[in-house]
Symmetry: C2
Subunit: 329 residues, 2 copies
């Protein structure tokens, strides 16, 4: 038999297989296929649920300490809640620990988890540990929200402004510097080092944006900017036109020096925790002021035909749906 | 440096290290160290959270299908909620998938997850998948409850009756038959086969017991009967005297035939999903009737000095705290 392997399938089709088998209930407000899931509660509110796992063999770059890895596992989960405008209430942690680990490793992991939770003002209140061949740090977050408060991937409308909460490419540049250019992590310029080893989730900004009522859709950029734009496009059934690619100075500098294409670093990276949102056009200027300029306009929603285009030097280029999809690298 | 390894530490001390680093908040109603965690909600209710991971290399016995393993991952999580008298509202699943897996494996895992969730009347509404060296199936469950509804490990009082919801030893006997006696799983007597490959959580019974108001403490027996009794003893700070070890007929038969000590099978097994509870003495008879005899009295709470003793043939034997602790086998 010639069965499709994991890598043939890719994460999206694996998730689709799960979704199909598991179905939804009348209480499922958001199921698979958004940054978080949500279920209706008897009180009329929704319970918001998120899980994301970090795997040692694929998600920890050279030079990352256990403490940084554990903190990053928290950040990755919080970032998804940030994109939905939801504040975490509490979390759990399940650890798969290889037999070679010592008490020191556990203490480092615990310190990283604690640090991450503290930064975003919640507690990890329980968990499970098991011996495993691969290090895995799986966080599950829980929150309560009003159903209307949770910004989905699916609400973008023609005329909306497409915006992001930061410049892209630093994570990708930092990873390439370490993995391809064999740079010692400690020798990286600080913006690249921090992007890879100490990433931050945009929780405060996400809460502010969502509570403004000006957002029509939102996603976090952890799978890459191009992938995130395609998700908003597909889930909202709209076409997106990007008129500039927001590239960080540090990424641009790295690209020039080592011969990478800046757009590729910014569009097709991943594990970069900004938010990608669409904003009602009449609300954009006031929202930009309210967030002290942290919101960067990069394009508009132009049509009802899904797709992501880039206008550059007078030319229209179709941006492929490439990104950080696991199993398909 | 000679640092303690995972196996020197054992799961309990690893959890203690985590607990110490992570702390608790004023909203933490139940933290680490019980079957579930719980946090106070603005509504006055509590959010109940549980995560438990199944690891391919240590938790899947020979002959267990992917479908059975995935279902068992659900059962293990539900069992902890059952012990607390709490009904799951929704869940998440995080999968670590080895690269050799095919579409067929994923479909089998999805079918097992779906089956498990359906049996206990909730939905898995989201999740994450990653490539990993070891198969891991991590479930997180979420529920809402009244704070008083959640039965802890810590409420047992002197005079309470100690009871269980079933007979023990079948899982241990089944595992020994397959692992030590090299029996083909298909050749096992049905009670042993079902105990290992198709275990069931006592959710309906757990809800009934908890809602009676007659329980003072409760735990599920997934780490073994002896371990569970010691947990109730320590967390409640009471001494427990067992006057009979509840052994299943099938386990007794297996023990006689292959030369095992029946008490060892029943006391020191694990992954056997009964409930171990303490009951107010004046309520025991009516509760036993209400549960149609499914509640089996095995002893009493005798003192305020923690410890677990067994009275057998006129002798008092101290039951060691041995069980199914990961990392320490």
């Amino acid at each position: 038999m010639d069965l499709p392997s994991l890598r043939d399938l890719g994460e999206l089709r694996i998730i689709a297989l799960l979704e199909q088998a598991l179905g939804t209930s009348p209480n499922t407000v958001i199921g698979f296929g958004d940054d978080v899931s949500a279920v209706r509660l008897p009180s009329g509110k929704v319970g918001v649920l998120k899980t994301d796992m970090l795997v040692g063999s694929t998600d920890i770059p050279p030079g990352m300490t256990m403490r940084q890895a554990a903190r990053k596992a928290v950040v990755a989960n919080v970032s998804d809640l940030a994109a939905k405008g939801v504040k975490p209430l509490a979390g759990l942690v399940a650890l798969g620990l290889p037999a070679y680990m010592t008490k020191h490793h556990i203490q480092e992991i615990a310190a990283g988890l604690s640090r991450g939770a503290k930064e975003y003002d919640f507690h990890l209140v329980g968990g499970d540990t098991n011996e495993s061949k691969d290090l895995t740090i799986t966080i599950a977050l829980f929150a309560i929200a009003s159903p209307r408060q949770v910004i989905r991937r699916s609400g973008a409308k023609v005329g909306d402004i497409v915006a992001v909460t930061g410049e892209f490419g630093s994570t990708s540049a930092g990873l390439k510097a370490v993995l391809k250019e064999r740079k010692a992590p400690q020798k990286l310029p600080k913006p690249l080092y921090d992007a890879v080893y100490n990433p931050r989730a945009q929780l405060d900004l996400g809460l502010k944006l969502a509570s403004s009522g000006a957002l029509t859709s939102s996603i976090d950029s952890s799978d890459g900017l191009a992938w995130s734009l395609h998700e908003l496009s597909e889930k909202s059934r709209v076409g997106i036109l990007i008129d500039r690619v927001p590239i960080s100075k540090a990424a641009m500098h790295f690209a020039r020096r080592y011969g990478y294409r800046p757009n590729d670093l910014a569009l097709f990276g991943g594990e970069e925790y900004h938010l990608v949102v669409t904003v009602r056009p009449e609300r954009f200027v006031s929202l930009r002021r309210a967030t002290r300029g942290k919101l960067i306009s990069i394009g508009v929603v132009t049509s009802k035909r899904p797709g992501v285009m880039l206008e550059q030097r007078g030319e229209l280029i179709s941006i492929p749906r490439k990104g950080w999809e696991h199993f398909k690298r």
